[in-house]
Amino acid sequence: MAIITMRQAISDALWEEMERDPKVFILGEEVGVWGGTYAVTKGFLDHFGEKRVRDTPIAESAIVGAGIGAAMVGLRPVSEIMTINFAFVAMDYIVNEAPKMHTMFGGQMKVPLVIRTAGGGGRQLGATHSQTPDAIFAHFPGLKVVSPGTPEDAKGLLKAAIRDDDPVLFIEHAAMYQVRGEVPEGDYTTPIGVSKVQREGDAVTIVTYCKGLQLSMAAADQLSQEGIEVEIVDLRSLRPLDMGPALASFKKTNRAVIVEEGWPSYGVGAEVATRLYEAAFDYADAPVKRVAQKEVPLPYNAALEQFALPQVADVVAAVKEVL
């Protein structure tokens, strides 16, 4: 196994899929000449050419809309929305067109489209550029929503997304491209809609994904020094949502903390907590606890921003509260 960054893992997945299948192409703002806003597609234009690495105007509806059209007629586009904050401009396409085509025309049309985008706060970009609105997108049946927490999963899930016959929104975290991790050699995919236990323990179940996984792993290390071993379940996909490992773990530990970066109201934590209660109410020895971002538009000021975002210490405190 090689140790590589999240950026490299995502880049490798795209590169290998484009090598494998000539129908895979990418389109988006600055994917070509610039080499990708987060340098994920650096070198792609030289290697694959303009036909398959297409710079677009600043026109999010066109980026996703044209991706849908191309997917409908048999290509496998990867539409890149520079950051998830601009996905709202293409909202109709992401939640109202792509996920509906297959159903609404009685199974005639497939939309094998991947929408790649980066989300998350913590880089002092102000309220309009620092969001984690994943739950909004996960609300829509017909769309698949994936958000990896490790380089290994990023590579495997992106490959699976590109090979998937349905539209997949692939959410990366803009502050995680430098995160390193082990990645298996060779071609592999990671199934969409399958959660994974990332760390075993018996004291408390932490259910999380994406940046929350990083926070939870760090918190777990600290807690371990105090003899508290938490179990960490990484959702990896928000839709379809696989509650299996989280439920099994909750039945074992009888306690759960949910860690997400988005706002808690109507969020991923709200969904997961409800499902735990619905399926395993009798197993709860303490109320399920949510760790999330404070409910404000994120401030620019660095200290305030960090105060508003969930921190490792918040996870540690929450675990101790439910113990």
């Binding site: 809309g65 109709d92 698949k144």
Partner: protein, 323 residues
Amino acid sequence: MALKKKDHLELYHQMVLIRRVEERSAELYQAGKIGGFLHLYIGQEAVSTGIVSVRQPQDRIITAYRDHGLALNVGIPAKAVIAELLGKETGVSKGRGGSMHMADVEKNYWGGHAIVGAHLPIAAGMALGDQYEGNDGVTICMFGDGATNIGFFHEGVNLSKVWNLPVLWLCENNQYGMGTAVDRASAVEQIHMKAEGYGIPHSRLEDGMDIMKVREAVGAALDHIRSGKGPYFLEIMTYRFEGHSMGDPQRYREKDEVTKWEESDPIGIYNRYLVKEKIATQADLDKIDQAVETEVTEAVEFAEASPDPGFDTLFDYMYASKE
């Protein structure tokens, strides 16, 4: 592309079929058998019939929600159209789409789309698919005058020029978007002039009630695109005789105006042309009228006798990758 007598009779048949299917649909709607919106195409038959009669099989076609006419033109049987209106499993979209979402991918008809203007970037993507694969098909994208004021329009049309896509932008100017007359919604009344801003060749056909003129204008536009010159923008002037949808009291236009336009009924114009040019006799045309009556009656019987989709099929078309 000179037409033989039997081709003329077939086109006449299509126009009459659209008219009768829609008149019958209006009755079924009033009887409470059709739900949702029902947007009739009555008055505009020469446009879709003319377009489909000059397109090649490889030319894709996609339109907005006023889609029954086109559905019949591409050869979807009246029984599948009416069954869809009644929401039956035998409908062209298996009862999942309804009036606004009819498609038949095998006939290269990519459907009615209900969000105003949203299908324009999608059409650009479909045209990209053909360009990418080296096919010589043209994507014909039909939309109303009202759709040219929404952002999607501008993003889609701009992209088509930037990428030199084989797409025919075809604006059916029926002079109203719901109750808003063109001059109250569009800064330029000559809608085709909008293409000027994107460097796309354009023209306007003043008489869209005459199928022969539609054929000529669309044929020329398709030749232009097929010769590799990129997108073309054609505006066709027409008129809808009925309200925007069922139950529209039409307070926004004078009875006189409607009556005046009804004098240029596209079916009447075609009928007189065929008789005057001695291509067909009135008796030939009367025979078609009678045949259509039978066809539509049988289609309604078929649709009414068809089963509703079973509850056990509710999730059948949510994800393509699950099939």
